[in-house]
């Protein structure tokens, strides 16, 4: 018995190594999934505070660029508002409000971002206290940015569109053919559009927007334009490369969108045993 204990004692460094390595692997497996807990990532209070302070300093260097963007976005919104003004007609018919999905928008500032790994994340300076919930869609004036993964009291972590596990339901704007956008982990300006059948006519330069089918994003938010169409190795689908409209190197302010009827849709899908695409 004593010899066994002595033997184990002589191996103590190795045993500690195996033990700590096992903890690390357990952490990798259980917290790196998309719906992982928000506790052990950059949205927790400790790292969130430090990142917040750092961002307060560094944002001064990008103020000019941010201002220009805000002005651009304002101009676009004003133009859009013009379109929604009621026509000067006495027989204006309001569409039934039940038919329209109910979306709520919120703004937030990006305090941490990465684009070079194969699974990238962003951290935002708003959290549960400001009404952010896991699952909300994130976009900016240029296009789709990602999806909220986890929230703490004052910060939240977002899975970037540049994450090899994130699928975004999308469609070709002109032909309404829908597919899924997924990043292939190579170039931060390019992504793949999956599940486009071979018979579909698709041209370089076609605009890709969100489809509104998975109830995370409203319909029609920019994703990018088709950059390349190949026959690909898959016999059923085309190999479509999309050049993303969002410049992930310069994401500084984002909007978050929440769909009020998402829960209802989700439970409907659950009851009818359909797997909704995430």
């Amino acid at each position: 018995m004593q010899r066994i204990l002595l033997f184990l004692y002589s191996l103590r460094a190795f045993l500690l190594f195996v033990f700590l390595e096992a903890i690390a692997i357990w952490l990798i497996v259980s917290f790196n999934s998309q719906q992982g807990s928000a506790f052990f990532n950059s949205s927790n209070q400790f790292s969130g505070k430090i990142l917040g302070v750092k961002n307060n300093v560094s944002e001064y260097f990008t103020l000019a660029e941010v201002n220009r963007r805000l002005v651009d976005t304002n101009a676009e919104l004003l133009a859009e508002l013009e379109m929604y003004k009621k026509p000067a007609d006495s027989t204006f018919i309001q569409l039934d409000s039940i038919l329209t999905a109910k979306f709520e928008f919120k703004g937030a500032k990006v305090i941490n971002n990465s684009i070079r790994l194969s699974q990238n994340h962003l951290t935002l300076n708003k959290g549960e206290n400001q009404g952010i919930k896991p699952g909300m869609g994130v976009f900016n004036g240029q296009g789709v940015v990602g999806r909220v993964k986890g929230v703490s009291k004052n910060f939240s972590t977002v899975i970037s569109l540049l994450h090899t596990d994130l699928l975004i339901s999308s469609k070709i704007e002109s032909t309404e053919v829908f597919g899924s956008i997924k990043w292939d982990g190579k170039d931060p300006q390019k992504a793949k559009m999956l599940y486009i059948p071979r018979h579909v006519k698709i041209e370089v330069g076609d605009k890709i927007v969100t489809s509104g089918y998975n109830a995370v994003f409203p319909e029609g938010i920019n994703i990018g334009i088709v950059a390349e169409v190949n026959q690909g190795s898959d016999t059923n689908y085309l190999d479509v490369t999309v050049s993303l409209s969002t410049d992930f190197t310069k994401v500084s302010y984002v909007y978050l969108v929440e769909n009020d009827i998402e829960e209802e849709l989700d439970s409907l899908y659950l009851n009818s045993e359909i797997n909704n695409e995430r």
């Binding site: 460094a13 190594f17 690390a24 990465s114 994340h121 090899t164």
Partner: protein
């Protein structure tokens, strides 16, 4: 081990972590060269440091860096590997006459040739482990190899610069 020495070790730990998570995280050369400079802290621990304290330091350091990179466990797992093989590797490389006491294995103390044979394999093992775990489940072999090689060279060059600028002979941070 004197009091000022412990102070230098703890101070170095905090400074390396702050610089890594706040500055170097955003520095990626040509989209492939990552700068994981903080592993140099572990590589440059005094030669006589036992494996168990090294493992504990590596675990703490890895977890903190992981928090900021949103890669929970990946830095930790990779850093633990080099913490574990560091001591056997130092023993294999013992020069004739053995090591002096209380010595840090820096370029200034050990010479460029010895430091390169010592640190380059450790840096490479860290990068191989990190990028393979990080891209697990994707079919990105060529980009991963590019990242591993570019990052290893980048970290090695940066570590030389840091040592020449901020470390003193026989003592230092």
């Amino acid at each position: 081990m004197s009091g000022s020495r412990i102070f230098y070790l703890i101070g170095g730990f905090i400074i390396y972590l702050l610089i890594q998570t706040l500055v170097l995280k955003n520095l990626v050369l040509f989209g492939v060269g990552f700068c994981f400079l903080y592993i140099i802290y572990l590589i440059l621990l005094p030669i006589e440091t036992k494996t168990i304290p090294t493992l504990l330091i590596a675990f703490g350091m890895g977890l903190i860096v992981d928090l900021f990179y949103d890669t929970l466990g990946i830095h930790t797992a990779s850093l633990l590997i080099i913490a574990f093989i560091r001591r056997p590797w130092i023993k294999i490389l013992t020069p004739t006459g053995g090591y002096d006491d209380n010595l840090q294995p820096t370029i200034l103390n050990m010479g460029f040739g010895w430091f390169m044979t010592y640190s380059l394999p450790l840096i490479l093992i860290f990068n191989i482990s990190f990028f393979f775990i990080e891209s697990m489940g994707t079919d990105l072999f060529i980009p991963v190899v590019q990242k591993i090689i570019a990052s290893a060279i980048f970290v090695f060059v940066m570590s030389n610069i840091v040592q020449l600028l901020f470390y003193r002979r026989r003592r230092g941070i």
